[in-house]
Symmetry: C2
Subunit: 66 residues, 2 copies
């Protein structure tokens, strides 16, 4: 079993958005993450990097709706 923390880069800043993610699905311009506490997130983002050694994934925001 293996879990990572998910960080989102938005406007150049990195924020922790979910801890202990155990599942990640990618669609075009959309990312679905789910964690061990039953939380789910759908994000307009793309995956940039995962470092399993550091238990860390980095997502980057796409299609800003500000």
């Amino acid at each position: 079993m293996c879990e990572v923390n998910a960080y989102l880069i938005k406007n150049g800043e990195e924020t922790l958005i979910m801890e202990r993610v155990y599942k990640l699905d990618l669609q075009e311009n959309q990312v679905h993450i789910e964690n061990l506490f039953g939380e789910q997130k759908f994000l307009s983002a793309s995956l940039k990097e995962i470092n399993f050694e550091k238990n860390r994934m980095v997502l980057e925001k796409t299609g800003e709706k500000s």
Copy 2:
């Protein structure tokens, strides 16, 4: 520490291409994976899914050069 096995879907078939991947980088249409044995692969592929619970990532081949 956490490692996953990488599977590649090509022509509808899934093949194990690397075991114990600990690092994944995504560029546009390119995937770079690295494992604990120092092996590296650059693939014309996109990431489809990661299931950390099953220690499994699925990549899909893009831009066939056959």
